[in-house]
Symmetry: D2
Subunit: 371 residues, 4 copies
């Protein structure tokens, strides 16, 4: 009917105006620099919508991701846990992905096809991402689900292994089930950060078994309510990919090139976390104060994380505490007492909020040329 169509058209128009406004207002974009040889992709690969036990339509997830300045998301609906099944009796478990793809079409956001394989312990919860079809992954036996995921070329990671609902001590239990999956090449990553939880025991497992280090929001409600309005950022996985593409992202995840980030906490293998931190600070100025041997530096943090450092240089500071923060986007003045005027100075900083292993914080070095 002509009238109905016109009516529909107007409604669509008015919503897309809305969507554009959101794009511009992003008040909380996440930012991290690329590292030598790789693009740093900001990803959240653990998300739910009304198509499993979440509470929003997939388009809201796309808009949230755009506000957070993400490069990629995956809507990983539980295949087995479907509390809205009465109202959304979907015969096709790919609907969430399909709707998100349509919404993302006009935006610069990659949608990774994914699903959550959900069991009680010991199998626990696991995300399969870069899948081709969610339907055949729904299997009676967990083992069969993992096998199918592997068949589709999926990257599979273990979700919140330290979740106290499945592990009452709050520590991950690496059971025979995981060992078997690992052996069969069916398990590739592990969440060390899930929502607000960081488990250094999970980090230990990642390092021991060479699993890719993951951080995800596992959002069910609204990012605004669970993170933003509490002053937090959503947890993400930085993926160091050769290009900004789905395929490169997948390759990087299999290769273990990640850093998990939640607010000011960064967790990753030394070989990725150190270059990330070294690119995160830019020494914008370096010159001696008149008639002194005090070297004045201006150092900018170009990330969206506040970064915390302890001075480990050969030289002490003139008017800073040796423990100091450079807030996201801030340029900090640092003054080094070099005792004589130098041409080259090595600034060594321990990144107190970053971990390459349990209780292990990296030290980064900047070689500074004085003009």
């Amino acid at each position: 009917m002509k009238t109905r169509l016109a009516f529909l058209y107007f409604l669509l128009i008015s919503f897309s105006i809305l969507a554009q406004e959101h794009k511009h207002s992003s008040a909380r974009p996440l930012n991290f620099p690329d590292i030598p040889g790789y693009k740093s992709l900001k990803t959240d690969l653990h998300i739910h919508t009304v198509f499993s036990d979440g509470y929003v339509w997939p388009n809201i997830r796309v808009m949230e991701a755009l506000r957070d300045n993400l490069d990629a998301i995956s809507l990983t609906e539980h295949l087995e846990y479907q509390p809205h099944l009465t109202d959304i009796p979907h015969p096709d478990r790919n609907r969430s992905y399909t709707i998100a793809m349509a919404e993302a079409k006009e935006h610069d956001l990659m949608i990774v096809h994914g699903s959550e394989i959900t069991r009680s312990e010991p199998a626990g919860h696991n995300n399969a991402v870069f899948i081709k079809d969610a339907n055949p992954i729904l299997q009676d036996k967990a083992e069969d689900a993992f096998m199918e995921a592997k068949k589709q070329g999926a990257f599979v990671f273990w979700n919140h292994p330290a979740w106290y609902n499945q592990s009452p001590k709050g520590n991950p239990i690496f059971s025979d089930f995981q060992k078997e999956r690992l052996k069969k090449g069916e398990l590739h990553g592990i969440e060390v950060i899930n929502s607000v939880d960081y488990a250094q025991e999970s980090l230990a497992l990642a390092l021991e078994h060479n699993l890719t280090i993951m951080g995800t929001s596992d959002i069910h409600g609204l990012i605004d309510w669970d993170y933003t309005e509490k002053g937090n950022q959503r947890p993400i996985t930085l993926v160091f990919a050769k290009e900004r593409s789905i395929e490169s992202m997948q390759e990087a995840l299999f290769a273990g090139r990640t850093v998990a980030v939640y607010n000011d906490l960064m967790v990753g293998k030394e070989e990725f976390l150190i270059p990330l931190l070294e690119q995160s600070l830019i020494v914008e100025k370096a010159s001696y104060a008149n008639n002194t041997h005090v070297l004045l530096l201006e150092v900018k943090n170009i990330t969206s994380s506040d970064l915390l450092f302890e001075n480990e240089s050969e030289y002490t500071f003139y008017d800073n505490s040796p423990v100091f923060e450079i807030k996201a986007g801030e340029t900090k003045k640092i003054s080094l007492k070099t005792l004589e005027n130098k041409r080259e100075v090595l600034l060594k900083l321990k990144a107190l909020g970053c971990f390459t292993a349990p209780k292990q914080q990296p030290t980064i070095s900047y070689s500074i040329t004085v003009k």
Copy 2:
């Protein structure tokens, strides 16, 4: 299966913890005082969810309302416009209401059963609230839908009559359709505020035809994104009811006892807007400055709206501009030059942001006793 059940239980637990936290964090509660003889109920009776063309599950609407400190909401899904029908092929048009009722059970929020009757102009969009069953209201002919709504005892109001999609000049067109409904007792109210739009021409119609004055959010996305983060509050209808109950609310709406509120704009009939404003300010202190005839007042705005006034008292101010704002919750010092010391002083203030008719702002009076 036992394990599955345990798993379900944990998920439910963890979400309800979340919900409680939300309840406490409400950063933007709407507040308005009762008026003599009536409770002031804060209501939003025009809301959508995934069950028509909205983008969230009904529980999110309940949580948003709790954050806004509302007394009542109605999820008024379009009966005829169902863009998510493929995924949500509901045979029962009351589902949205049923789910919201379950969610609201533990909270102090009233859910009004409602539906939207949606046509092109001249019928346009109309909300029927306090219905008993949404299903029979879905009719081919608009006239039949209104008749059925009346049969169920519904209070029916005309939505955004000035919406430019249906009225390109941006002014409401009160057609034969509306005249007929009015005559048959099938139309009782009119939105003068819909989302961010206020039409004083709609207010003129409300006064001319004695329609109840309504304000609603018409929310489809998130209250946070469309209102809160832009510094706005959601539009509401204050309903002056004999008691805090569904039935009293319904009686009050039929009786036309409302004020529509959006941020600092209040629109209502003089007989309700003036007492509302008079209750909104409290004179907390009144005494003369030593050795002077300058009367020092402390006046508190107990509403969540910033209120704008112009002094129309017999006396001028000592150290205030005659045009001044008292912010939500603020206590303002006002000093009146009464020329001699008085026992009783009449403070007369024109409420510049409030309207009882187009271009007609009310003046309120406070009789102040000096201690």
Copy 3:
């Protein structure tokens, strides 16, 4: 002594570094546009330091003025009231001016030479600015002080005539003393705003006797404490001068070309206040919404005052309240229902917080060309 000199040098260096930093950090600069034919100079011509009953050294006054982005200040020390005389037994009443001049030398701030002639009522307090030498203005008889000020070519204005310490009713008393001064050409202006006090009775006197309208801070302590940290701006006089020079400023003051400003309150003669307001708003965009007769405007307030308006155009608004604020620096979207598409539209706005006479607010007009 060499050592002492070196020591002095370092102290000077370190203070000047400080001063530069202040210049950059100005967090509260006052801004107002020029009007056709005139520069709008931001001035505060009523200020005290330790050289009368103030509490800071003159250099602090210069720095405060730079932070407020003023064009000119005058340090108007009381000649007769000298509570710090024991410690500062100055033989030369020009010291405050001399020190401020030295401090201002490197900055783009004009220092107007001034003094306060201080008596009880009926003479009251009066500022003489653009004087040449403060010493001879100190006289036993008030009449002689005014005569000397006139001899020096001073512009003289009556301070806070409504001050309740001298006028217990809080209203100005225009006595024979003032009449005599006026007749002799020894009184040229009147404060309608002094610190936080606005007296519309003083405005009435200004208009009746053709006195220049003045607004001043009368600061004794710190601008930060008395104004800024309470969310206020310092009161100023906008002087509309042919050039940005002391001489032009003086000519403009004698000619009565001023507007007094305190926060959002602006008080001035119609012939200056209306052009000031008309330059204060810039219509940045004007175009019709697709397929409608709704004209979308983007209007920027380029001043540092929040401005409050009421729509008095022929047309009503689509999605704004007819009473609205445009905050300092803000660009506001306004949508006019012009009923048909027009090439030229007249936007008429009443400036609710501005006064050209007691209870008299000006209406400004913008002729808008639609692209």
Copy 4:
């Protein structure tokens, strides 16, 4: 003259109203808990006014101190360096103290009588506080000034020994002059924090020579401009005194019972810094999460400093980073994975921003009883 007196009276009234308002508005009060056996007095013993090279009258210093919630200040005017001497040719070097005492009379603030003995290196700058008369301390030879200070019972500390104007490498030079003073009992303390400068080399000297550790603002301009508006707090010395009195404060300083504080940096001897930190946190709740071994703690920081910690407990955290901040006044939720349910748990935290010696951060312990 009667009129003049009345006039004076009004001015005094109006200023005292002002003063009261300031007292209430203090937006930045410093707070630190007492430690076992001692009151923690918040002191700033290095301050200037117009009576040496500062830029405000002494009353402003009193008001600043009240806003900062200090217990004691000393106005330590340079005896030898008097740039305002032309205008303030004081014959009595105690004037600054006398005026401050008068101002402080109605307030709960202690004024310590002090002076600065000012020389080039090697003597450098030194403050003598708890003096009786400043005049005889003004001596040609530095040695004589120290001798006189000792005679008066003064506590003397070395100011900013690392100041690059006197020590171009930015490191303190402990010369024969200091050694001699120390031997004669004429030097008792050393600034490790002066204005924004912290020198760990000065801390090393304090520990080596058993000098009292001091932190001071050395303010010349305004506390607001140099500290507050840059987001900093003024540096202070916490003095651990048996009572809240001048005499106890003096005894404590001679006994070396201090911690220097600047924002989040605290520097002191282990025996005082550890109890201060242990009193700074209060464990408000401790209980196990249902059906888990996760111990939920709520820990409140009752100081005005943000405190930074690293977990060094036997147990890891459930949903916190092991490096975390508890902001001033904040209550932080911390969850410990104790692996089994315990009655007593030891929480061990390294205070990352606090120093008991160069590069030496203290670890504090809380024995927590679980209900």
